[in-house]
Amino acid sequence: MALDDINLTIRAGETLAIIGHTGSGKSTLITHLNGLLKAQSGTVIFEGKDIWADKKELKNIRFKIGLCFQYPEYQLFEETVYKDIAFGPKNMGLDEKEIDRRVRQSLAYMDLPESYLERSPFDLSGGQKRKIALAGILAMQPDILVLDEPTAGLDPAARNNLFDLIRSYKEQSGTTVVFVSHSMEDVANLADRIVVMNKGKIAMEGAPEEVFQHADELLAIGLNVPAITKIFLGLQKNGYPFQTVYTVEDAVKILKPLIGGDTLDA
């Protein structure tokens, strides 16, 4: 079974990370969110309504729940960046003026200059192509933005940049964000809440500080904790009763007062 007895509530405005090893059901789970797949049993409720209750309405739900697949740059197909970003809003039946406004706004969210609009998406770098693909989803102004491994294959600078853009887009728009990632560090830095998938079931659910407490269980199901968390678990073993941290920022807050600016060399 790809998914087995999933009970999950996604709260408006939250950033939810879904983690799990390959084949644990992450991607299957997110394709149920906007009705690309239909579960044999159970329901998916969006804003109080079963998404499958009215088939005509399902199309609109797909505009409201914007799904960005892995390596979305492979799905670019138009001659120009403008046309590619405009594809979604056009399908929504919006007028030209509104489409134009949304195309420019989405491009701005991705921090790319308007000069890109007339370029071919195929002449851009990998990281830029991915931003264009993402802008195409933002142009539909979804209520929920669902991202399947948004930074896979990007170099560190491009990865940090894309996460910063997603974070600032979320702050400006208030959109709910659901993302799948294999990077525990990225999850720790971005998510308010984490859902851990294993063998089609939800194995754990909670805030990062709760989930990353369970390092042994996570390792047992093929996952990991951020490196900084491992360091703190090691310090706890050495007799320091620190709380478990999952970001470098929190680690510094705890350690800085205790180390007091010593600059010992290794």
Binding site: G23, G126, A152, D155, P156, I231, A266
Partner: protein, 277 residues
């Protein structure tokens, strides 16, 4: 003579003015474990393709075991000596059964059938995939597929394996499986490993790190030597550093600590009795 030698190598792709690789001069010895880092477009993949003659430089010379990669007659020999594993596990499997996929290389080299059998079995055992030998590759996980790809190269008895971001699409356990497999090949069989990656925690596991930027080598040395200049790594070259190093930096501790174990030891020494209950 070194195992691999680059002398003044420059390469540009057709129809572009920009040089993908510019004036690289470098030697690699048999048995080294080298990671190659650099942002997208820094020339890493071009560098990889120059290693086994997939690309031949118009300027300068690349040689492997003393044979120039420009020597067309020795091309097959070169491909057998230097194998490559690419990023996408689904793009490099050719057969519908695992063991047939691994046999593809030696078959093309004209290895006798009975020897192919032994080589395939040995290769699959080495990467821990022997029990999957009769399975269909599409049912395997990403990490398992990459290990099958490595076995396919191993069956050609190479001297060097180039991993071109081969763990980029894998989950944490898949990454570890692949890293463990190549470490074993390096340690036990002395196979030279050239490991291209965007994961800095993987890069610092190598004996030697080569940092590429705009097609040139900007740093070449042990992980500690290359990562010593924190500002250059994080700003100039668009990379990041392992969290243990980031922590040291933010604590104002002047120590290039790249691994978690070392970080725990160092912090324990710095803290002493401070912070203990």
């Amino acid at each position: 003579m070194s195992f691999i030698e680059f002398s003044n190598v420059t390469y540009s792709y057709p129809d572009t003015k920009r040089k993908a690789i510019e004036n690289i001069h470098l030697t690699i010895e048999q048995g080294e474990f080298i990671s190659v880092i650099g942002h997208n477009g820094s020339g890493k993949s071009t560098f990889a393709k120059l290693l086994n003659g997939l690309l031949v430089p118009p300027e300068g010379c690349v040689s492997v075991s003393g044979i120039s990669t420009a020597d067309e007659e020795k091309r097959l020999n070169l491909l057998q000596q230097v194998g490559m594993v690419f990023q996408n596990p689904d793009n490099q499997i050719v057969a519908s059964v695992v063991e047939e996929d691994v046999a593809f290389g030696p078959e093309n080299l004209g290895v006798p059938p009975e020897e192919i059998r032994t080589r395939v079995d040995d290769a699959l055992k080495t990467v821990g995939m022997y029990e999957f030998r009769l399975k269909a590759p599409h049912n395997l996980s990403g990490g398992q597929k990459q290990r099958v790809a490595i076995a396919g190269i191993l069956a050609m008895q190479p001297k060097c394996i180039v991993m071109d971001e081969s763990t980029a699409m894998l989950d944490p356990i898949g990454r570890k499986e692949v890293m463990d497999a190549v470490k074993k090949l390096n340690r036990e069989f002395g196979i030279t490993i050239i490991y291209i990656t965007h994961f800095m925690n993987e890069a610092v596991d190598a004996d030697r790190v080569i940092l590429l930027d705009h097609g040139s080598i900007c740093a070449d040395g042990t992980p500690k030597e290359v990562f010593a200049d924190y500002d250059a790594i994080t700003r100039e070259y668009g990379l990041d550093v392992p969290q243990s190093y980031e922590l040291m930096k933010q604590l104002g501790v002047n120590a290039c600590i790249l691994g978690e174990e070392e970080c725990i030891l160092h912090l324990t020494r710095l803290l002493g009795e401070n912070g203990k209950a």
